[in-house]
């Protein structure tokens, strides 16, 4: 085929290493198949700012849209517009409806595929890693960005559910919201620790929550005593793991998500059928394996 397909990728927000890495994977795939990638998003993880971007993308009638919907309910109608215009939609990282597509039932099953590492599962994996690191007992809490962000909300959910179900020795304290401010996240860790001297671990549900919580542990002089599990793995995480600030990082595979996203879209456009869900999995990074090139390749943005 000699037509160059244009594939749009709309991230949850543009100012996040996770999505920037996803873009790199997508670009690699686009290059491989000779498609053109358009990357456009909003600065906030919020439907109110994401939908206009989506509209502008639809206006240009790309051949396919990959999108990380900022809400599972609120993006249904806006995405339907794309679907109605005949543009295939694939959701990446997050989903609409219940994430089960092409069933012919309900009004949110029209996307072709959901390609992601499930955030709920990610939270559960983080819970397991933290439980193991702290020896299955003690107090932990979730350091989270702000309420209303579906990805981080799901990670928190997965974390709490897993702890409740399978780790009876662990008490999960109230979550704390830091407004994506590492400084506030650090202070919150210190406050939680000042109140609970038996705090043994914290799960940072996104980059700055983890970065801040890790610094809070350091400021509190508890490095090694309070375990830090971080979600996402930007380059700075390597140093943090090496220096012992962060004990475990749960790396999603954004580059893979982007890569598979474009590949799936291309496959669909060229008349092939694609699976309705592709899980990309996680990599658990800690001091023991951080130097391993097989692991290091999942560190974002290289």
């Amino acid at each position: 085929q000699d037509k160059t397909f244009t594939i749009a990728l709309v991230p949850g927000l543009t100012t996040d290493a996770f999505y920037i890495t996803m873009r790199k994977g997508a670009e690699a795939a686009a290059k491989a198949v000779g498609a053109e990638l358009v990357f456009q998003g909003a600065p906030d993880f919020n439907p109110v700012t994401q939908v206009p971007v989506l509209d502008a993308i639809i206006a240009k009638k790309p051949d396919a849209i990959l999108i990380a919907p900022t809400d599972k309910d609120q993006l249904i109608q806006p995405l339907k517009k794309a679907h109605d215009a005949g543009i295939p939609v694939i959701t990446v990282d997050t989903f609409i409806g219940d994430g089960i597509y092409q069933t012919g039932a309900g009004d949110a099953e029209f996307p072709l595929s959901y390609i992601a590492s499930d955030n709920v599962l990610g939270g559960a994996i983080a819970a397991r890693a933290l439980a193991k690191a702290v020896g299955e007992k003690g107090k932990v809490y979730v350091s989270n960005v702000k309420p209303g962000i579906s990805t981080t909300d799901q990670r928190e959910q997965g974390f709490k559910d897993e702890m409740a179900a399978n780790h009876p020795g662990i008490e999960v304290l109230e979550s704390q919201f830091n407004d994506n401010d590492a400084n506030k996240a650090a202070s919150q860790l210190q406050a939680v620790f000042a109140r609970n001297s038996d705090l043994v671990g914290v799960f940072g549900a996104n980059l700055f929550s983890a970065l801040g919580a890790a610094n809070g542990v350091q400021q509190a002089g508890q490095t090694g005593n309070i375990k830090v599990v971080a979600f996402d793995a930007p380059t700075s995480i390597v140093d943090n793991i090496n220096s012992g600030l962060v004990d475990v990082a749960i790396a999603q595979h954004p580059a893979e998500i982007g890569y598979f996203g474009v590949m799936s879209a291309y496959a669909h456009l060229t008349g092939n059928s694609i699976p309705t869900a592709i899980g990309t999995g996680f990599t658990i990074i800690d001091k023991a394996n951080v130097a391993d090139p097989d692991v290091a390749k999942y560190i974002y943005s290289d």
Binding site: T14, T15, V38, F39, Q40, G41, A42, P43, D44, N46, P47, V48, T49, V51, P52, V53, D55, A56, I57, I58, A59, K60, D71, K72, D73, Q74, L75, I76, Q77, P78, K146, P147, G148, D153
Partner: protein, 354 residues
């Protein structure tokens, strides 16, 4: 930034004198100043059109889809900006509008669902919207009382309410989004008539009413007077306390309507619905010709200001500018929008030196 009653005289730099012996010229220049934001909007559209044709050979301005999208996009920030226009003209500011909008969105969603159990869906929808707007007036009333009676500066009073409304909205929403199950509500949010989305129609009517209130009623006239010189207004016998109370209720009604329409459009209420709109809505008012010192501004200017912001943000995506460069471009365009004002002022011979 306060409209407490002991505000002393001040003259706004934006109503720089443009005197004239001939009434005609005076009026003309006055109108051009009002039109400035619209002129800028026109220039912006022309530039985008040229850019669009050069860069990918398509049209920007002639696509009805683009205009529908931009109009829908502008609805929420515009509704907030309308309320903010009144507040800013009075010399105040309302930082809490974004979360009052979120609160209203959550309430609208809950109430529509709840009412749907007891009455026909169209009525349930109306009931939900009504209750949402009514609930929104509560924080507005508290803002107004704090500012008028207890003389809390508007920035602080509404910043406090920012937190209170935020917390309340998230508590009501249980920290998540509240989906609405009401097909009429969804239709209101996404349907259109003759190609014009209902949302845009509702907003247009609302804007007209607000324009009437600001430009043709005593309430509006007093709002300008209070913003220019609260002391003079008080001495003239205007009930400033009552006015300010109404003012913040009015702005929360705008936010409440914004929240209800948000819930209709996204068929879900979310506490964070209005969070990203705060700076944009104030910027729309200022680009529309108001001064944060109070005393000047207009609804029509604000409409242009809101459209300027919507057109830039939509247009830059449409023109496929890199996201980080978009930040820069939006910033530059905002500055230029006001520079034009300055140039025009100089040209029209307004006093420059002092």
């Amino acid at each position: 930034m306060t409209s407490t009653v002991d505000e002393p005289p001040k003259v706004d730099p934006h109503i720089a004198p443009q005197a004239d012996h001939a009434d005609q010229t005076q009026t003309l220049i006055g109108h051009i100043a009002q039109l400035r934001a619209w002129l800028f909007l026109g220039a912006l559209i022309i530039i985008f059109e040229i850019w669009s044709r050069l860069s990918f050979g398509g049209t920007f301005v002639l696509s009805p889809f683009n205009w529908q999208s931009i109009a829908i996009f502008a609805v929420a920030p515009l509704l907030l900006a309308i309320g903010q226009t009144f507040v800013i003209i009075s010399g105040g500011i309302d930082l809490s509008m974004g979360f009052i909008m979120g609160l209203a969105a959550v309430v609208a969603a809950h109430m529509t669902n709840l009412a749907g159990l007891y009455m026909p869906l169209p009525f349930a929808m109306l009931f939900g919207i009504l209750v949402a707007v009514l609930v929104a007036t509560i924080p507005g009333m508290i803002n107004g009382l704090l500012i008028s009676r207890l003389k809390v500066p508007p920035f602080i009073g509404t910043l406090g309410m920012f937190g209170v409304a935020r917390g309340t909205a998230f508590l009501l929403a249980g920290g998540t989004t509240v989906p609405v199950k009401n097909e009429y509500f969804a239709m209101l949010g996404n349907g259109r008539i003759l190609g014009i989305p209902y949302l845009v129609l509702v907003t247009a009517v609302f804007v007209l009413v607000m324009h009437y209130i600001l430009s043709q009623t005593r309430f509006g006239q007093h709002n300008y007077a209070i913003g220019a010189n609260a002391q003079a207004a008080r001495r003239a016998g205007i009930d400033i306390k009552g006015h300010i109370l109404k003012l913040y209720v009015l702005s929360s009604v705008c936010a409440g309507l914004g929240g209800a329409l948000y819930a209709a459009r996204f068929t879900a209420g979310a506490a964070q619905a209005g969070e990203p709109l705060l700076l944009d809505c104030v910027a729309a008012v200022v680009i529309g010709g108001a001064s944060l010192f109070g005393g000047s501004g207009s609804i029509l200017g604000t409409v242009a200001g809101a459209l300027v912001i919507a057109v830039i943000q939509y247009g830059l995506v449409f023109l496929d500018v890199e996201p980080f460069w978009q930040f820069i471009a939006v910033g530059v365009v905002i500055i230029i929008s006001v520079l034009i004002d300055q140039a025009q002022r100089r040209f029209s011979g307004a006093k420059q030196d002092e």
